[in-house]
Amino acid sequence: MTTASTPADVARAEEARATDGAPRTGSSLGYLRHAAGKLGGALVSLFAVLVTSFFLFRIIPGDPVKAMTHGIPTSAEQLATLRRQFGLDLPLWQQFVDYCAKALGGDLGTSFQFRAPVGELIAEKLPATLLLTGVAVVIYSALGLWLGTRSAWRHGGLGDRLNTGIALTLWSVPSFWLGLLLIIVFSVGMGPIPGLFPTGGMESGTGETGFAHVLDVAHHLVLPVVTLVAVGYAQTLLVMRSSLLDEMGGDYLTTARAKGLRDDDVRRRHAVPNALLPTVTMIFINLGHVAAGSILVETVFSWPGLGGLFYQALSVPDLPLVQGLFVVFAGAMILMNLIADLLYPLLDPRVGR
């Protein structure tokens, strides 16, 4: 059974099960067709995002030029100059055509408030966001996989219940709140606990170079990463746990055991790899989410990434910048979904190649 591409890990997990029963038609040709289809779909989605972002942000009420000059004595000529600089004097359809033409060439326009190319602004902030979210995703995926495996293998036991309970509780905590608490306790210091970590930012800016600089950045990374990991790892844990539980019901495990394999081997060799599939897929989808998802943590920890930029752009409203960021956020999700889609058949041991 073929299903439309979906980012929901559930659907994908189901898809995996669906392929069980289906005859193995997989071949390199089939894979190429699958890949081409997914690629086409992603391109269509990307184009749809470009179009929507243009119109979506035109509904934000407000004349950006008047908003920017509010409270600053500005002559009518100056207003006209600003409008001309921003291309706001053109009719809407012409703005749209310009926007599309430029966007296809990779030019996302010029920010109103920073007067710099949007692409450049985003490129400037992207590494910070990638660093924060990348480290967080790696850690919470590893943590989730590990704990999920333990939990499933000993399901129903005290350890499992504790494990799932703690994960679910942390998952229910608002991340910005956790971040603020961590600042109070570990950054300002509370009672006997001294302020161990910086209160915000990405580097202390005292001119370290080389390895010292790396360490400095890592030092600043600790609290935001801990926040993201704490609220994020439950997802990986739960998916890993339930996939593994599904696998453990499989006949082949009994067979493997009957063959005299030790439980540990059965787990490591057979169950875990199969259960990894939906989990790894989900991790990729998470990667797509994190860019947009770290808005709050970036705000709380003054992290110089895309999240802060987005919030700032929205309040002006700095249309080209908001549009550009939206395209980047949505684009990240489309890209990660595509990777997950393309990777899936390659990873799935049941799909022959």
């Binding site: 299903t3 439309a4 979906t6 980012p7 559930v10 659907a11 997990a13 189901e14 099960r17 669906a18 989605s45 749809a48 995002v49 509904i59 934000i60 967080a136 399901h155 219940r161 679910l168 509780t169 998952w171 229910s172 608002p174 991340s175 910005f176 709140w177 956790l178 603020l180 608490l181 109070i184 509370m190 993201l228 609220v231 994020g232 439950a234 997802q235 739960l238 998916v239 746990r241 339930s242 996939s243 599904d246 019901g249 998470n286 989410h289 994190v290 860019a291 947009a292 998802g293 808005i295 943590v297 705000t299 919030y311 929205l314 908001v322 960021l325 939206f326 949505a330 999700m333 979904n337």
Partner: protein, 339 residues
């Protein structure tokens, strides 16, 4: 991040990767829930029979749910919080949110008179916390209901009509799925005026696609059963099939989705309020956190202002998640092991 990010559909998160209905296994869908043979043989019989059957279904559901400890815990927690919220007009009274009649002075630490201290206007934080539960729960409930309602409608229609129509609708749904939901909700909340309804709408219209997908799959599963064919042959129109046969069958799924959705919605409400996108004149948990931050409670060491609303949000979200997971595992016996 999940907690603050409605994009990660809680349904998928907490459902442990398995859901009651799947597109891929239409024939094996919730067979246990409602014995098809009985329904199939008598599509339109006396209502008493229908009611008896529904009663027994509910009884069976409860019997199964009762064995799930986490689910019971969540349910008990919810009952307690709901009781507190519903009786708030008598226990704390609407006056608790009045700034002009505030009983205390600004930012008092916890004391016998104010067990959780006071806010910057001298209002009792315990009173505000209880009063705030009303708005937080209401917004969470309304937003989840709105989201699930949209999802169910889209899902049933897409599943029922099929063909190119379904393809187009599902393409749109897929496309919504890749939208960064929090970003979209922030944009919507920024555009519209600050009010509770704005928040409900912003959450509702951005978080429905997961439900739509699941409901569509379930709809297809239900409609592939023979009795539907018979009902159509007997002259049942589209409305009849969707309303009388499909809807009752997707209701359990919808229930599970709503329960899980509320927990996400409450977190999103808190997030939006924290970003200053809520109604500042209404007391909600997220709004209290925003007020605490406005007052500079974090750096002044007023932890008693900051901690309780966050804990309250986490507890309610957790309770709804536990209930939702329990409901799901009842509906999908395969998950029985996970309790």
């Amino acid at each position: 991040m999940t907690s603050t990010e409605p994009t990660a559909p809680s349904g998928t998160t907490a459902s442990s990767g398995t859901t009651p209905a799947t597109e891929s296994s239409p024939a094996t869908a919730p067979g246990k829930k409602k014995p098809p043979p009985a329904t199939a043989s008598t599509p339109a019989t006396k209502s008493s029979l229908t009611w008896a059957r529904r009663r027994s279904t509910v009884a069976r559901f409860w019997a199964s749910y009762r064995t799930r400890r986490a689910g019971l815990l969540g349910l008990a927690g919810l009952a307690l919080i709901a009781l507190l919220a519903l009786t708030a007009p008598w226990t704390v009274g609407a006056d608790v949110q009045s700034v002009t009649q505030a009983p205390g002075t600004a930012l008092e630490p916890p004391s016998a008179e104010f067990p959780l201290g006071t806010d910057q206007f001298g209002r009792s934080l315990l009173g505000l916390l209880i009063w705030g539960a009303r708005i937080s729960l209401l917004v969470g409930l309304l937003a989840a209901v709105l989201s699930v309602a949209i999802g169910t409608l889209v899902g049933i229609i897409a599943g029922h009509y099929g063909g190119w129509f379904s393809t187009v609708v599902m393409r749109i749904t897929d496309w919504f799925l890749v939208m960064p939901t929090l970003v979209l909700a922030i944009v919507l909340a920024t555009v519209m005026s600050r009010s509770m309804w704005t928040v409900v709408l912003a959450i509702g219209v951005t978080s429905w696609p997961t439900t739509a997908r699941l409901v569509r799959a379930q709809t297809i599963a239900v409609e592939s059963r023979p009795y539907i064919e018979r009902a159509t042959a007997l002259g049942g129109g589209h409305g009849h099939v969707m309303g009388r046969h499909v809807l009752p069958n997707v209701m359990p799924l919808v229930l599970a989705q709503t329960t899980l959705g509320i927990s996400t919605a409450i977190l999103t409400e808190a997030t939006l309020a924290f970003l200053g996108l809520g109604d500042p004149t209404v007391v909600s948990w997220g709004g209290m956190l925003q007020d605490a931050r406005d007052a500079g409670a974090v750096s002044s060491g007023h932890w008693w202002y900051l901690a309780p609303p966050g804990i309250a949000i986490a507890l309610v979200a957790l309770a709804f998640t536990l209930c939702g997971r329990a409901v799901e595992s009842v509906l999908n016996p395969k998950l029985g092991v996970s309790r």
